[in-house]
Amino acid sequence: MTASSRWTHEQIAARIARDIPEGSYVNLGIGLPTLVANYLPADKEIFLHSENGMLGMGPAPQPGAEDPDLTDAGKQPVTLVRGGAFFHHADSFAMIRGRHIDICVLGAFQVSVAGDLANWHTGDPAAIPAVGGAMDLAVGAKQVFVMMEHVTRRGERRIVETCTYPLTGRRCVSRIYTDLAVLDVTPTGLAVRALVDGLSLEELARCTALEAYS
């Protein structure tokens, strides 16, 4: 597999952005998923939710225009679009847990073929646990999209039969976007929706849990 046969993070983000229908209420997780915001088409109205208490999150402000009272879930300065709204944390999580958020895009360490998600803890006993809103988003969003590298830096599978990292949520992932493929989680295993140019299903299967193409 050559370096050219992988989608860049930007290409993955653009692909996810294309798949989000107009009118959707969307939460983008911290890390890679924040890139998706850069590719949402200007002619489609899509509502970005930030769990600290905002709908209609806009891009980063111009340098010098940052407001310490206006930040995103990663505590970075952002803006509010015209028509946007602020609310407190209980309302914000009612939106999440009450199944009002249409799509949540999350990063992941591992996803199982059944759609189990592991993205909050490596399992290292020395690590300080910190979960934030990940478990709420996993169970609350109508659809959970995962955006991640297909394999680890050491070449280990991230799409696995059973997660070995501590779970964030059970059977909660609907679709996986990686640098190699787009996969839907279905009751009979993973269904390949798209493959990077030049990659065969057999090559994909070598770095993905076997059920991937069942």
Partner: protein, 219 residues
């Protein structure tokens, strides 16, 4: 005449006892009532339990309070941050107890306390290690776990404007935990940027009605 306005941050936190549970509003630095936290440091209460989304940033605010080693336990959703080195060192030295709660469960446990709810079933954390030891029940074919309210002796929150009755409005995403924590403490203390005359806050726009607030201080 009722006035909940106090003259100083020190007066606003007066009476906090050793062993108290204190909620501190804020998401990172947005909405953190730093003057009130500073006043708690000066006030000297110890053996505290802190309820806050994070566990302090840098050396100021909540981090400075932790540094006094007068906090026995912290209940939060996301302690680990790039600049949470004060908490990190205390935790690794075994000098602070940590209860990690998913953010939605954290705010709902606070909301439940404020609303008089005895306990509630939540889908969040089902099947994870944060559900360990929780009772579980199935409703409509879906599994939920039982979570209990978090009540505090004192809530320290930051708002934008307040009046002498304790009515509050907030500013942008600094609102976050403030309105919810105000309901869940026996004594809610609001640090505001400006105290305004009674009647100037639009009744349609008041976010926290004064019934939930005991003290207001400009800082």
């Amino acid at each position: 005449m009722v006035s909940k306005v106090v003259e100083s941050a020190a007066a606003a936190v007066a009476g906090i006892k050793d062993g108290a549970t204190i909620m501190i509003g804020g998401f990172g630095l947005a909405g953190l009532p730093s003057a009130l936290v500073g006043a708690v440091i000066d006030q000297g209460a110890r053996d505290l339990t802190i309820v806050s989304n994070n566990a302090g940033n840098g050396d100021t605010g909540l981090a400075a309070l932790l540094k006094t080693k007068r906090v026995r336990k912290i209940i939060c959703s996301y302690p680990r941050q790039t600049d949470s080195y004060v908490f990190d060192a205390l935790y690794r030295a075994g000098e602070i107890e940590l209860e990690v709660v998913p953010q939605g469960n954290l705010v709902e446990r606070i909301r439940a306390a404020g609303a008089g709810i005895g306990a509630f079933y939540t889908p969040t954390a089902v099947g994870t290690m944060l559900a360990t030891g929780r009772e579980s029940r199935t409703f409509g074919g879906r599994e939920f776990i039982l979570e209990y309210p978090i009540q505090a002796d004192v809530a320290l929150i930051k708002a934008y404007k307040g009046d002498r009755w304790g009515n509050l409005v907030y500013r942008k995403t600094a609102r976050n935990f403030g309105p919810v924590m105000a309901t869940a403490a026996r004594c809610a203390v609001a640090q505001v940027e400006e105290i305004v005359e009674l009647g100037t806050l639009d009744p349609e726009s008041i976010v926290t009605p004064g019934i939930f607030v005991s003290r207001v201080v400009a800082a």
